[in-house]
Symmetry: D3
Subunit: 259 residues, 6 copies
């Protein structure tokens, strides 16, 4: 396997990488920027300047840092819409503060929306480290390169995977364990897998229930509901409802027999 | 969307919320109370008093704090039964200490049983923060309002979701990725989703295998086994066995073709 | 339930257990040993000696500590092959460093390969604590007793479970939510579940897609692809392709109806 | 030297001692009890209960813990008088908060007054650990057994030593580097030094300037000022002023010659 | 005593004060700004921006923060001259790095010169907290309001006190335990001590040896050496040498008699 | 001033220095090696191996690390004698554990004896960083190059300075604020001060009381007592007793007049 030689060679070189601790501190500061009445370790203005300083250090570019800070109000608006979407989709919610403080959805989306913004500015490595922080904390893995519209909601979240070339419209809701994945891919002449569109497109107003896998560059039409535990690898027209074919039920003759 | 206006308004107000650090410290002290021979940072008696002090501070109520401490022996008894249930269901167990120290099940149940007890006393916000701590650490998300009987067992756990109005009997075992979720819900005149019974009831002696989703206010009768990867949205009589209909198997003609 | 008496009795005894903090420090040092150009908190030579010291302290055996250090180069070789396997299977990879720094796969495999090596040397308790660290951080739960070949790849990982008696060949790829589990087991005369082979065997070149459950001592033949969301409890011949039978699609007549 | 045999013997035995970390936490909580408007990590009520819990754990006695908490208002009154004394003696003070937040005097006196109270209740080991914490932070070493009246002031403090049998009246001010020490002592038949009154008595309204040493069981009468750099080993009547005899001044003939 | 009423009243009000943790972080960042080749936690440019952000937050003024950052090169030049002065005065120095990394002098002067600069800009409370940090770490207490010239050197430092209205010229060296203090002061009609010039003036090229106390608004002329353990309360002309009058020596007749 | 050019030049170069955090961790491990029954974070055997690993990393030399570990029993014997000397000289001692846990003397001597041993092996920079750690914690500054005999005792310690070329015999006791310093020194042709013997020699059985300064290469003969606040710059024969000439006492005519 040629790839092993690459691994040995690349890991044999000294490399300079972003510091995970700095990334963690930056995300904590951003909580103060986005939700200044809930998190008050640092005032929003100074927090923005510290974020800029950390970004400048980790990327080596002051322009990038300043450009990112200029994006913060827009990211905040998107995040508030995500909060609204969660509130809209969960009857157990008792207050907006509860969503921000104890729903993984907001942790996930804050990390994703920040990482996506940085990736669009051409920042390397950092965006993936940011989403991986959220992945480790919540079990939700959204690639920073995925495109996600407004009012995106997830509930419990654990096990959700959204691949790098996924495109998600507005008002989409994903339940736990949903995969938007790739089915297969081909290799270039150097044996490296080719990075081309290979993940699903979900149009507006799509809901996907728990543990369903949608794979490949398929399009799920708008205003569609996909039930749970479905394995979906083909296009779906708008206004559809997809369900797993019924499971069989048998009586148990021996008590406690297992399955 | 009206909900966004709510979000902006509520997040624009200064609010006083429990401290996540204090919650974390309280849960660490409770380990010493429940398992004094395994965790010995703090002696059980003083640990209880510190728990009471933290609770008083975070809830603003000394009565609540004292009432909770009075509940600790009962919670401990429930936890020990959960430990016994895990031991009963996993042949890989080599000692009881191993379960407490390295099975996520005990982390999950300690947080859930404490949070449920606090919720029953009328404490706000704190219970959800407590279960979210366990969710982040283990990938298991049990809503503190769910009702769970004795001898509850989970194994690896990741991805389990138990919704707020679920009712679970005694001797129930859930494998990883199982969802006890809601199918749908309606909205009140203000556009807020209505909180009413919408999650499943599992009677005594039910086992649910990995990645199965059970949705809506359905009842799974006692002494039933639900196989894995099943999408279940209807009632099941006692003594049943539910299985996914068989998958199809085809020969692969091209080696390495993907799916 | 007799098991409860065991629980109460065993937890009533004072016991001496490994320190989770020491285990965490050891794993952090091992990052420096395996990837000295990416993690540079401690030079590799001294890091090895500190690892040995921690192991000696936690196991009480200097011989074990020295034997483990002698295994480190072999574990490192296995890890580099796992890195190569991830690179081979994900088109989104932009550099090898990115894999090590931001893919949970490497966290998982570093913990598993270290824990498996210690378990083979007869070390108790510690191996499970090590894999549980990775489980908590990544949502992937691989039992240290499982046997896993070379070039093992997982991608997002969350929800993967690999049971204690699983046997996995070379060049195997598991997607998120895959369970290699047990179907049932019997009890000995003391009411303790019997630990015997009860998890699947996956031969070389097997790929299993997201959320599939494979249960029991079944063999999945080499060069096989198992699709996602499949419930598989029987043997599969080599060169197979297993798919969930198709889900049904219905038009939605009422907009926003849920499922 | 017989004492070495004692050292080897006593250090060869396993002993159970208070935890320095717990002591540090307790003192931090007490800041919240004494100065609730300046330090707000913990509300005063819960802080008192946590202090009680820590004390119970470290001393093994709940009675001691409760008795100490009952003393807190009295200790607080004494501390406020010490703050007033500092304000009275330093023209550089701009606010009372400044004294509490940035004068070592208050750190010193909070530790001493707490330690002295515990020592009077018969608590062993802990009082010395508490004053040593302040000694390390401020360079001021007041033995918990010393008796100190009201309105005690120190300014910069570094180097002040107040021995175990010292007795200090009200309105006393000590500048930096002042020693209230012992001149000599005798040994018992086992070769251990005998603990009897051997440090000075300072009556009310005494001020001692920097770097002066007062040694032995001498009495400095009330309303007396002792200048700096004096070596004083005899009694002084009330209303005295003690000065070092004048230093000699010589012209320097060679520039930069040193001394 | 009226002052006690003030204390009780002021401490009874809620007040907003700078965070000691933030101050500590700021000083750590400044090490990276001043000595970028020795401390490399943060690159100098970003470190400056983070310092500005912390200052803005703690003082509530962005102008102050920006003004302070503009002063940093000047402060750095002064600090380097202090380093040179230490190197000039200690034969035990083996490298400049050794001075910065292991001499308290540089810790002291970095904190003093930063605090003095902030005080001159009119910042309240913060300067005293900064110098008190250095006081606690080194035992050297220099009031931020004191004026100190270039090439200031201290050696071991412990116990040095430099009062608020002291004026120190260039090329001055103070040994450990030296006090530049006040002798007395008067009170205003409210019973508050009056803040007017009351500490010594040391002209250029003055050296003061260990444990000497110089008190009151006296002037020590340039090119003067003051020996150790002197109590000095009067003016000294330039080019002087001041010594303690000789101590008496007596034979000891009884061995081990003490003093 | 040429020295400034040196400072600017040397600080302008990137340099690799020992990590203060690593030094701190090493000293904490050594507490476990020297006092295994009082500090039990790490077992003595593994603690020694970790110390060796840290030393190897910080010095870059495995031989040095191994040589130092071989010295540990000898250092421990010296430390125990220092503990015995403290016990012999302080009637307030209630147990040996109290000395180790709450007397700065043992912190000081542990750091000095370790640093001195490393310096003798030719290790650079590290020894000064080690003694500076103790200096900051205790206010006692003993240069690692000083030579100190057995049974060395200090009591409160703050402000003690022992210069680099000092030589101290057995059974010597120094009280707080004592300086063993240099009087003057000359410069080489490059303007660097020359490092030659310039600090005092104290023979066996010498006691020096508080705040006394002994300067220059003078010899204090054995069995001598030097009183406090003395300025001593000449040789003293054995069996001497040195006292400050008496201070003058005057009646105070005006109450509260200051000095």
């Amino acid at each position: 396997m040629d790839m092993l030689a690459n691994v040995v060679e690349e890991l044999g070189r000294v490399s300079e990488n972003p510091s995970p601790e700095a990334v963690g501190r930056m995300m904590k500061l951003l909580r103060n920027v986005f939700f200044p009445n809930l998190y008050r370790e640092t005032a929003p203005g100074p927090a923005e300047r510290m974020v800029a300083a950390i970004l400048e250090e980790q990327t080596g570019s002051r322009d990038t840092a300043d450009a990112f800070v200029a994006e913060l109000p827009a990211i905040r608006d998107l995040l508030y819409k995500d909060v609204a979407a969660v509130a809209h989709n969960d009857p157990a919610v008792t207050s907006i503060a509860e969503i921000v403080l104890s729903y993984p959805a907001i942790t996930v989306m804050m990390h994703y929306r920040v990482a996506h913004s940085l990736l669009e500015m051409g920042v390397a490595m950092l965006p993936r480290m940011i989403t991986e922080l959220a992945h480790s904390a919540t079990g939700v893995d959204i690639h920073p390169a995925a495109k996600i519209g407004e009012y995106f909601a997830i509930d419990h979240g654990t096990g959700i995977v959204v691949g790098a070339t996924s495109i998600i419209g507005d008002h989409v809701m994903l339940y736990q364990g949903v995969t938007l994945g790739a089915k297969n891919f081909s290799y270039d002449s150097d044996g490296r897998p080719i990075d081309k569109p290979r993940h699903p497109i979900l149009e507006d107003n799509v809901t996907v229930y728990s543990n369903t896998s949608i794979l490949g560059r398929v399009t799920v039409g708008h205003d569609t509901v996909v039930g749970g535990n479905v394995w979906l690898t083909h296009d779906v027209p708008p206004f559809s409802r997809i369900l797993q074919t019924n499971a069989v039920t048998e009586p148990i003759f021996e008590h406690g027999a297992g399955i």
